[in-house]
């Protein structure tokens, strides 16, 4: 299959997946107890007031009818209006999306960097104490979930040795007008490295907390895969040509060992994005996840739906990218 065909097939799957997610979310949020109207009105509001508001938000119709109306809007890019802020849901979620994307990407970069270096070091030093130490570290990193790492980091680098900011996305005193919501990218493109530094010192701890478990998984899996590859005949043949240990690992083993790791990293990266919900809350980082928690607390049904759909879209996009890069890196799939 060519790359194009694969991409098209993926696109169809994506559409079906999103539709399924939409159905599930729509019904689940309406079945769980808690009424958005009751939360908006003072206690003792009249039945008349309640039914007026219900009619305003279309909540007086049957669930199925509501779904058809919502779906009709959704396919045209209208995800409804937030009950709490009265703003279009699409506008709201899109305004928060860049913050979450930047955080996730930063976490991914950190995870790949740490995990990759550990895997390569562990392979280079296989059978020594260094490898043992890396294994122990991996085990520890994996046995603690990301939000606890967040607390540990806040304690370490926010309180005991305060070198990073522990809340928000940028310092309020920052003298800079952003033209987009992609603050980090924008600061780089506009060559404002002072701004970039401020953003990074806010983002670093939440990103690191998200990255630690993924880094451990990458380190473990890639090291295992590298060690297996190091025994293969073509690696031995490369040694007889005169290559040293480092070149053999980087040039011969790595390009092949990376493939099985890649697929799993894709899956794990979606978990990481899921982890932003709690982590953003913990670090008061104004992203989608933080907004999701507010939406749930306020029973803001249209907003919850919009956020979940957006997350589902991101997940399928990640899977698509992983699938395509796997095919691009593996010559067997490129031509087959």
């Amino acid at each position: 299959m060519t790359l194009l065909k694969r991409a098209l097939a993926q696109l169809c799957t994506t559409a079906i997946t999103l539709f399924g997610v939409a159905i599930v979310v729509f019904f689940v949020v309406r079945v769980v107890p808690g009424n958005p109207i009751a939360m908006m009105l003072p206690p003792g509001a009249s039945a008349e007031d309640i039914s007026r508001l219900e009619a305003l938000y279309g909540l007086d119709k049957s669930i199925l009818h509501q779904f058809v109306i919502w779906l009709g809007g959704a396919v045209q890019g209208d995800l409804g209006t937030s009950i709490t802020t009265r703003q279009p849901v699409l506008e709201l979620v899109l305004s928060r999306l860049p913050a979450t994307l930047e955080l996730s990407m930063m976490a991914l970069v950190i995870a790949v960097a740490i995990g990759g270096v550990l895997a390569l070091t562990g392979t280079r030093m296989r059978g020594t104490r260094v490898e043992g130490a890396i294994d122990v570290g991996n085990g520890m990193a994996l046995s603690v979930p990301d939000f606890l790492w967040g607390l540990v980091l806040i304690l370490a680098f926010g309180v005991l040795w305060p070198i990073f900011h522990i809340s928000g996305r940028a310092s309020p005193t920052l003298d800079f007008e952003f033209a987009t919501k992609f603050y980090l990218f924008e600061s780089v493109l506009r060559l404002r490295f002072d701004v970039w530094l401020d953003l990074v010192s806010h983002m670093f701890m939440p990103a690191l907390a998200l990255a630690i478990p993924l880094a451990a998984i990458i380190a473990q899996l890639l090291k295992q895969s590298l060690k297996e590859t190091m025994h293969l005949d073509y690696v031995t043949l490369a040694r007889t040509k005169g290559y040293g240990e480092n070149s053999v690992i980087l040039r011969e083993a790595l390009p092949n060992a990376i493939l099985p790791t890649l697929t799993l990293v894709g899956v794990q990266f979606t978990f990481l994005i899921g982890g932003t919900v709690i982590i953003e809350r913990l670090f008061s980082y104004e992203g989608l996840g933080n907004m999701a928690i507010d939406a749930v607390i306020n029973r803001d049904l249209p907003l919850i739906q919009g956020i979940v759909i957006l997350f589902a879209l991101i997940f399928t996009a990640v899977n698509l990218v992983v699938d395509l890069s796997y095919a691009a890196l593996n010559p067997r799939l490129r031509h087959g």
């Binding site: 031995t236 043949l237 490369a238 040694r239 007889t240 040509k241 005169g242 390009p255 890196l329 067997r332």
Partner: protein, 290 residues
Amino acid sequence: MTPFLQISNLNVTLGQTHPILRSVDLTLSEGETRGLVGESGAGKSMIGKAILGTLPSALRVRSGEIVLDGEDLQRLADKDRRRVIGAKAALIPQDPLTALNPSKRIGVQITNRLVDILGWRRKAAEARAIELLDEVHIPNPDRVMRAYPHELSGGMRQRILIAAAFAAEPKLIIADEPTTALDVTAQKQVLKLIHEMQQRHGTSLLFVTHDLGVVSKICQSLTVLYSGLVLESTGVDEFFATPRHAYSRALLQATPKYTDPDASLTPVPDPVIEATQREVQMFDRKQAHV
């Protein structure tokens, strides 16, 4: 003439003491082809690996010398040793399906030794690779240079590995059962090709095999190995006329004449095996006393 490869008194052990190679002596003059025979597990491959510096990590060279073109390999620093080996020796591996890197194009896998280790220009190395592919009868060398291993047949891949082995005009080639993974017709062709290339380039060849028929066809000398001990090292003509060791005689009887493919394979008889094992034990006892 001084031998191009001289191995003397080479001892390789597994862990601290378990012997894998027992005081092996082996020489190879320029242009000579020596067969290395012995049953499975005798240590044939380990001799090749010891020369090329690719022994498994559990195995250690305990003592002995490996002199390649005047350089005592054991005395060189790792980096220098790798360079000497990369420049002067090459391996034709056993299994062409696993010996090529699946994620690299054929061209790179032939030229990389020349470019990365020996400092050739890429253009020159590529021209050389195409020349070599032509020499091993690969049609459309330009196209094959850009192909990936999975696009080629096993026979093709073994030809490519042969071409790659000859890339730097090595003076020594070690071929470790280079045909056992191939089907019968490909076996004959590949054997002929190795012989042809070796003759044309005047390379010394250490040919590891189970097949005495092959030895009689392409080798001038041979070494018989049993349990890491050299039983007999002699010229091919002498060996086939008057094998000295009882194990060699049994081995010769066990080999069907290649003119008569239906001849049944008789195993080496038990008394001969037992006598040979005693010889190995005696050797170990003598070593322990030194």
